[in-house]
């Protein structure tokens, strides 16, 4: 019944590159991105050549074997790090520093929230820093805390909360900032499995409600298939796009039923296979230039 995955859902325009949209229609474009670090005088190539596009309002997951430069890529996209070659375009404009339209949620929730500020102050700070008026600020903070289910702990300090709740605070801070693009760097890698499932659903809910473009980096294959409308699979280092896969699961997803779908299993298998291939060094043709 199901069509072959490779014929119908694969959308890579060229080997080693992800899907590319027509000019002016992408929210986020990564073009021929390359990053080489200098360590002890020896260059280390973290990312070789990455190209892909995200259309506005899309939720894409980025998976890859460990050490495939996912975090490096995210740092380049968020403007925290300059790429060695290539460029990142946000809404058509080249990213040279952290853009105002972008928010990042890091894996290390314990180190990304200000421990000397209460939950509410943490969420409020970026808005206050922009010079936003108090009433509007209050409204956005209230909404954001409500959206992540934390309206009952505004006066706590982050370290008084559990890991999952701390990550919710970080998500609330990102949501209140009203970004057009939300980057998430393995945000649930350090929380327990049940909390993780809740947070995954929270991300889907927030994404639907806000219509924000989300790039979600993870090393968890199930998570990438469950969350994404699309999964971009990275090769092992030196990194190129191994495959850019459309996830044709129904838009309404829930932990029990979606994960029980035969199609979920197929997609999951496929991603898993690709990552195994990537690990053994099998690369899309013409990518190893």
């Amino acid at each position: 019944m199901q069509p072959d995955i490779n014929e119908h859902t694969r959308s890579a325009d060229a080997p080693g590159a992800g899907r590319v949209l027509a000019e002016g229609t992408a929210m986020l474009s990564v073009r021929n991105l390359k990053k080489v670090y200098q360590t002890d005088g020896r260059p280390v190539e973290a990312v070789r050549n990455l190209t892909f596009d995200l259309r506005p309002g899309e939720l894409a997951c980025l998976v890859g074997p460990s050490g495939s430069g996912k975090t490096t890529l995210l740092k380049c996209i968020s403007g925290l790090m300059a790429p060695t070659e290539g460029e990142v375009l946000l809404d058509g404009a080249k990213v040279t520093g952290p853009p105002k339209k972008m928010a990042v949620v890091f894996q290390e929730y314990g180190r990304s929230l200000f421990p000397w500020m209460r939950v509410r102050e943490n969420v409020e700070l970026p808005l206050k820093n922009q010079g936003m008026a108090k009433p509007e600020r209050d409204r956005l903070v209230d909404e954001a805390l409500e959206a992540v289910g934390l309206s009952h702990v505004p006066k706590s300090y982050p370290w008084q909360l559990s890991g999952g709740m701390q990550q919710r605070v970080a998500i609330a801070r990102a949501v209140a900032y009203q970004p057009e693009v939300l980057l998430m760097d393995e945000p649930f890698a350090a929380v327990d499995a049940q909390t993780r499932a809740d947070l995954e659903d929270l991300i889907r809910a927030v994404w639907k409600k806000l219509g924000v473009t989300v790039l979600f980096v993870t090393h968890d294959i199930d998570e990438s298939v469950y969350l994404g409308e699309r999964v971009i699979i990275l090769s092992s280092s030196p990194t190129v796009v191994q495959e850019d896969l459309l996830i044709d699961l129904p838009a309404e997803r829930d932990q029990l039923n979606t994960r029980a779908l035969p199609r979920f299993t197929e997609l999951r298998h496929h991603v898993y296979e690709q990552i195994q291939l990537a690990k053994t060094g099998q690369r899309p043709a013409a990518a190893s230039r």
Binding site: L80, P98, R111, W116
Partner: protein, 257 residues
């Protein structure tokens, strides 16, 4: 009940020490060690009079100005040096040199340069007190967590806002550790700056008493210095707990885990 217990612990050892002192001095007549009773009466006679105005308060004033200036200067310079890499590389060896110079030897030098003024005494206090604050602030600023710094950057928190919301609070625990050292050094230097050519102040008075064999008076001066030290420590602890409440809470959670 808990307060009473705490008080008992706090005052227990001092009470025992005074008791031992009393037992050791009542029988024997030693000219150089007064009895507790004699010391108390000397204490009130000596210090609750004109001396508060002529010696105690001026000394405390200089101590306060000196320590406060050292803290402010140390933090400001520390923020600057800690945030600018080349400045740090440039200043670090020089700072190590100046820190190694014992401040008392600066007293004669500063006396020549600034004459015997309040300014000179304050300068002596600053010259010794600034180092722990400065060096700790530099370390604190340098040790800001990379993820926290990245978070602030992605939310466009830069410039003064970065200093206020990220750098200062993050360096807070280190800075306060420096301030704690700075206070005790300040008290020592206050006394020393008044021991050389001076005409008023606690250090001067105590040395005067000693030279004129006014032994109980001299001891009472030492007691006053001890009491000032205790008061400073209490004020510091109160302030530190207030400013670093988050830090102590965080540590507690981390230790419990």
């Amino acid at each position: 009940m808990r307060i009473a217990k705490g008080l008992l612990y706090a005052l227990g050892l001092p009470a025992l020490l005074v008791l031992a002192w009393w037992a050791g001095t009542t029988g024997a007549k030693n000219f150089f060690v007064p009895t507790p009773g004699a010391l108390v009466s000397t204490f009130t006679d000596t210090w609750f009079g004109n001396r508060i105005l002529t010696d105690v308060l001026p000394s405390l004033g200089r101590l306060f100005v000196g320590v406060l200036s050292a803290i402010i200067l140390g933090i400001l310079a520390g923020l600057l040096i800690g945030s600018v890499r080349w400045l740090r590389a440039l200043t670090e060896p020089v700072l190590e040199f100046f820190r190694a110079v014992p401040p008392p030897v600066l007293v004669p030098v500063l006396m020549l340069l600034m004459c015997i003024t309040d300014g000179m005494k304050v300068a002596v206090i600053i010259s010794g007190c600034i180092w722990p604050v400065l060096l700790n602030t530099i370390e604190g600023v340098r040790a800001i967590d990379g993820v926290l710094s990245d978070s602030a950057r992605t939310y466009g928190i830069s410039g003064w806002a970065r200093v206020r919301y990220l750098v200062l609070p993050s360096a807070g625990p280190q800075v306060m550790a420096g301030v704690r050292q700075c206070l005790s050094i300040g008290l020592i230097l206050m006394v020393i700056s008044e021991m050389f050519a001076s005409s008023s102040g606690l250090g001067f008075t105590i040395v005067q008493f000693q030279r004129s064999f006014a032994v109980p008076e001299m001891w009472s001066g030492i007691v006053i210095l001890g009491l000032i030290g205790v008061a400073m420590s209490l004020i510091f602890q109160f302030t530190e707990r207030h400013i670093l409440r988050w830090y102590h809470g965080l540590r507690e959670v981390e230790n419990a885990a």
